[in-house]
Symmetry: C2
Amino acid sequence: MTVCNHPEEHTAAAERAKRSMPEEEDIARVAGAFKAISEPCRLKILFALRHGEMCVLHIVEAVGGTQSAVSHQLRLLKANGIVKSRREGQNILYSLDDEHVLAVLELACAHLHCHI
Amino acid sequence: MTVCNHPEEHTAAAERAKRSMPEEEDIARVAGAFKAISEPCRLKILFALRHGEMCVLHIVEAVGGTQSAVSHQLRLLKANGIVKSRREGQNILYSLDDEHVLAVLELACAHLHCHI
DNA sequence: TCAATATATGAATAACTGTTCATATATTAC
DNA sequence: GTAATATATGAACAGTTATTCATATATTGA
C-alpha cells in the first residue's frame, strides 16, 4: 500500500498529523466522554440538567424510562466526567459537571441546526 | 414510583426540563453526531484532519488500520456531518466539516485536561 | 480498451452496549 | 430496631457496531 502523489502541502499535513497524534490514553478518554453523551437517553439527561440539579426520580420523570436504566446511565455519565452528584438527605442530586458540557451541547446543536 | 419532596426550585427545574425537552428527532441527530466521534479510530481521523485535508491513504498512514476500515469510518463521519470530502483526480480529499468540529474537540480536551 | 491506482461497500463475525429484573445499600422517620 | 423511600448494581439477554475479507467502482495514463 503506497501513498498517493499529492501536492506537497497534503503530504506535509499527513506527516504533521502523524507526529502530533495524541497519546492513546488521551484518545481513549476523549472517546469515552463522547461515547457517554452519544446515546439518546443520556443526552436527554443532559438536556434535562440544563435547568439545574435534579434527583434521580425527577430525571426519570423528565426523560422517561425506568429508575434502574437511568441510574445505570447516570453512573456512566459520572464515570466519564460529564455529570457530578452530591447527596442531600435521601436524595442524590445530579448536575452537569461544568460549563464545558453545556458548551459542547450547544456547539453540537448549532452545528446540526437544532433548535433547543 | 413517586417523586421525592424537594425544595421548590428542584421540582420547578424538573418541570421546565420536561417541557423544554428537544424533539426525538433532534436528540437522535445530536446523539448520532456524538456517536460518530466517540470511537478511538474515528477520533484519530479528526485529530489528523486538524492539519488540513488529506486523501484516504494519508489518513490511513496517520491513524493506522486498514484502508477498508478507515473508509468505512470516513463514511460514517461524513453521514453525520463531521467531515466533508471532494474529489481531486484519483483521490478523495477529506476535511473537517466546519469550525464547530474543531471547537468541540478542543472543548472536550480542555475539559479532560488533555494536552493535544 | 487495458492496466494501475484510489476508494467504497456488502456480508459475516466478534465484540460491545443498553435494558431489564431482581436485589442490595443508604438514609430518614417512627 | 423496623418500615419506607431513594438510589445503585450484578447478571443476562437482545440489539448494535467495528473490523475483516472479498470485491466493486471510479479515475488516470498508455
